[in-house]
Symmetry: C2
Subunit: 342 residues, 2 copies
Amino acid sequence: MTVNSGRAVFLTEYPDGLPKPGSFVVREVDIPHLKESEVLLRTKWMSVDPYMRGRMNPNVKSYVPPFTLDAPLDGGAVSEVVESRAIEFNPGDHVVSMQGGWKEYSIAKPRALTKVEPDQAPLSSYLGVLGMPGMTAWAGLTQILEPKGGETLFVSGAGGAVGSLVCQLGKQMGLRVIGSAGSAQKCSWLKQTIGCDIAINYKDYPSASELSNALAEAAPDGIHCYFENVGGDHLQAALQNIAIGGRIALCGLIAQYNAQEPVTGPTNLANLITRSVKVQGFIVAQYAHLRKQFLGSVAPLLESGDISAREEIYEGLDQAGAAFLGLFSGENTGKALVRMAG
Amino acid sequence: MTVNSGRAVFLTEYPDGLPKPGSFVVREVDIPHLKESEVLLRTKWMSVDPYMRGRMNPNVKSYVPPFTLDAPLDGGAVSEVVESRAIEFNPGDHVVSMQGGWKEYSIAKPRALTKVEPDQAPLSSYLGVLGMPGMTAWAGLTQILEPKGGETLFVSGAGGAVGSLVCQLGKQMGLRVIGSAGSAQKCSWLKQTIGCDIAINYKDYPSASELSNALAEAAPDGIHCYFENVGGDHLQAALQNIAIGGRIALCGLIAQYNAQEPVTGPTNLANLITRSVKVQGFIVAQYAHLRKQFLGSVAPLLESGDISAREEIYEGLDQAGAAFLGLFSGENTGKALVRMAG
């Protein structure tokens, strides 16, 4: 198969605040010939994730460098090998990479690819429950929060790809699970499908003190473990209700990713001291060495139907920007994905 | 010896903001007769510590309950046993307790007392470098920050009892140590006596961004370990310069203990995520089981003169309120203590 060019998404500007649909543009780019030990990939599924917003700020010090405006964006993807000059892969193989996203075709080295089997789990699940968001949920819960049976776990952004898996794994571990999300519809899904003991629609509590009161009622013995995806009022309210010896896995602060003015932190940080609380910020790459352990725990639960993984699917590369923006509007439930044409 | 009454300090009100000198009043209280297995103690040294401000708020959820207005205040003290109905102690013994502070006499059970030897170290050191502040410094550094040789340690409130020991232990561990304090005088003490590589007079940098720039210059490779006693601009500036994989021991937030309005947290909490930072709030009581290990590490360093412990001594119980208020005015250097008359 010979491919000379393919379409790819570029960022036209570093957004100030919420990116605009026009911040994303699809362009045709040349595909060079393969060199020795390279493979050519055709993207089948691509992932949009909140962390990508951080890469759209030009001056962030992080494990992951900022996007440039001069090249297609990168991101997680499941791709099919269409041509191979590497002995490790053959045409027809399926792989996960962190490069294949936001484009139709990509060229990769074998060490950047993980082979996946289409008959073991749906290909899209390797970008969700069996992929980076799933690993994030599992690592934050098991490696940072280290919950003990009977404890109370609070999960913000519980309707998302990461949060909904944290809730389900928390139930598997014998925890009392409180999830928050931004609509009544998501809350009933959290209770009926995900298994949350209590689901809080945070839009019913428009201030930190109201949200805090709702949490106090939901967690009369305090929150032992908090999986934080949101920030803002959620963090303030959770700190107000954190138990002595509590642990917080700081995964995301989506409430402030698009802020144009600095967002002040909670006023009750002193509770971290008086209640001996740990806060651990993390990105999933730190736990890459535990991937097998993660898959060994979560894949059987997915196969047996003990956990469910909902997907919000957008069709075609032209929808990639819209899929990304949907992460911040509260429209998505579960894992947001783009299915590529063809 | 028969003692019928003694003087003790009461809190007259729960202060709103900085306590006033009149918030503390000395009253004569009756000393009841000893019951079986009790001892009567005469206080020789009492401690004033920043954490006591937290106990002056009536509604704080913590390991340590708030003070009441109906009884003498409590606090750390070195006392002499003057009468004993317990087989564990004889008159003339010296003990440390958490009850003997703020009063001339106290009655205690043996289990609340730790015997100390006046010929092994100065009695006052059991309230400072060999006592609770010393243990706080040692535990935060060794149990939370877990520094590796060559890393950069930043200590706020470095002129205080805890901070100055953290700096010295940090140097013993082969770290590059940056301390901040609120006067040029303290800063030269930090460099000349305590051994800080860099001492920052934070009053020269009256905003978080100025302090952050000073830290960036002092720690070009970032701050690997931060021992936080202060909060406010210090926390914001430290988070701006924290290294990837950094650790923060959250010991105190003295900048906000007397605030009358809620003090907002830092605007750059997202750095905790992108740089995979741990924040652990703690109080020293969690580490009580490690007291022997702490003494085994620190007492020899004190005896050999490898670390120095400066004291700010106030004379007499009538000065106890002033000694406490001195913690917040920046007047004290090293451990603040009250020497009791007699």
